[in-house]
Symmetry: C2
Subunit: 338 residues, 2 copies
Amino acid sequence: MSGTRRVWKLARRPVGEIADGDLVLVEEPLPEPGPGQVLVRVGYLSLDPTNRIWMSDMEQYMPPVELGEPMRGGIVGRVVKSRNSAFAEGQLVAGLGAWTDYLLSDGTGLQPMPEIPGIPVPVAFGTFGVVGPTAYFGLLDIGQPQPGETLVVSAAAGGVGQIVGQLGKIHGCRVIGIAGGPQKCRFITEELGFDAAIDHRTEDVGAALDRLAPDGIDINFEQVGGPIMREVTRRLRRFGRMPLCGLISRYNAKDPMVEEPGFWTLILMRRLTIRGFIVTDFAPRFPEAVQRLAQWMLEGRLKVRQDIRPGLEHAADYVKLLYTGGNFGKLMVEVNAL
Amino acid sequence: MSGTRRVWKLARRPVGEIADGDLVLVEEPLPEPGPGQVLVRVGYLSLDPTNRIWMSDMEQYMPPVELGEPMRGGIVGRVVKSRNSAFAEGQLVAGLGAWTDYLLSDGTGLQPMPEIPGIPVPVAFGTFGVVGPTAYFGLLDIGQPQPGETLVVSAAAGGVGQIVGQLGKIHGCRVIGIAGGPQKCRFITEELGFDAAIDHRTEDVGAALDRLAPDGIDINFEQVGGPIMREVTRRLRRFGRMPLCGLISRYNAKDPMVEEPGFWTLILMRRLTIRGFIVTDFAPRFPEAVQRLAQWMLEGRLKVRQDIRPGLEHAADYVKLLYTGGNFGKLMVEVNAL
């Protein structure tokens, strides 16, 4: 094989929002796998809110991407050349790779991707790779939903949020989603079966919660942080749970958090549980999550909306959509036909 | 029986610190128990930080004390007159009562108090009534201490704190206590066996923690809130736990809490668990706690220091000591000889 590949590299750590030039697309000779290595033709690249964290040098859950290095990302693709006995040529693999059309890897972080009859590869990759297990463990293990409880999920039309809400319904909860714009709000109620939606762009979130959940909230599946988190948290009931999955409004933040005097007292008096988690903490139990999520999907109880955009060369623009709410569903880049 | 009794009543809800006149001592005719009632001659009254909460109308875990009503408090005493078949005259009882020398009760909240050979009544009452189970469930159930972990406890020489630290040692932790003044700091290290003490009155708590726990902290048993909580929490390690037991610096607070921009991000990235609790949540398991605490005490592995002050008429002054650090050990009032 000869030719070139394209790789997005981190040129500069973003300050605030991701800016043009923070990532640069480099064309370079297609690498030849050495002993133990594989070359993977990337089909889809997953874009996730956590990408912004990896670009920064803030404290985080794995090492940040080094300057000058390929940008890290979840990928699915086919092995086109293998000098690693664990991977066969033609095999479908998925895992943590890079923003590139041809990934050179020693296999670390890559797993064979089982094809599930009835579930297309991009759906399986986009759902079972990261967002599905995140929703599954965050809601079921940490949130501990009980029938009749009220669940609020922010970023509700996003990759994780739409699954969280549907898992809440499967477990008998009343589900209120917070999303941006009427289209997303209609989607989560009409297509996904959430009980109610709050459009944070046009509605007073606190007033809407008072109206929709006058007796309070049992679970806050938190993905956003800032004022929306505050409005939901202060309405948590006794023994409420808050799986802290993300803080997308805070990753770029430089302003301090100012809480009302009684904020912490409320956590005490209502005996709330706040627990931060990262999906990789549950890695040994991924097969359990994938099996159950796939089953629900095949039964028609779990739907996902994906936002698949073409062209690796636009990845640095696409990723910005996550921080403005510009995507609608799980955001992925189609890099090559699989 | 004839004569009078004295009762502290809540005349006014404190604003900020408890002031003279918020509580008033009333002398009234000794009541005669009606059907189903008992009269208890109170031996000891427990004074606890939560008393300040009950005096206020802030959101709390049981109804606040109503204005004009007897001030609520934990008591131990002897039944002197019983028209309730569950209680015999002469029997020792303990539970939630009032700040009085003779308690009239229908028995709600009172339990027979078993006498444990080798443990004096005030020690058993002061330890097993509230602070011991609080330390036991908060540290063991929520804190989940593992051998070799580092535990920090604030208000370390207080009723709960001294037990938390010793339970930490029994479970193989390295224990750092934060207390006010050299006498308390010496007490927790030299007499209770804590590994280190930080005097928050004279030391920079953050710098001391950096020196004493350079690799970070696994458990923050939080009782104080405010700047001390912040310094400990930001040094929690991955998967750190924070049993939130009290916020004594915040019950009177009117100022907002201002956290650095990355405070919540740290909870997420380090996968911290913050859980508020009130000891009554564990009421069904009190016998387990009392049995194990008593065993450790009889083995000499658990010591308690009590600060027993004479005279019901001074109770309103004594309780203020809790908020200035003026007590040294579990604070109680000796009301009558038992």
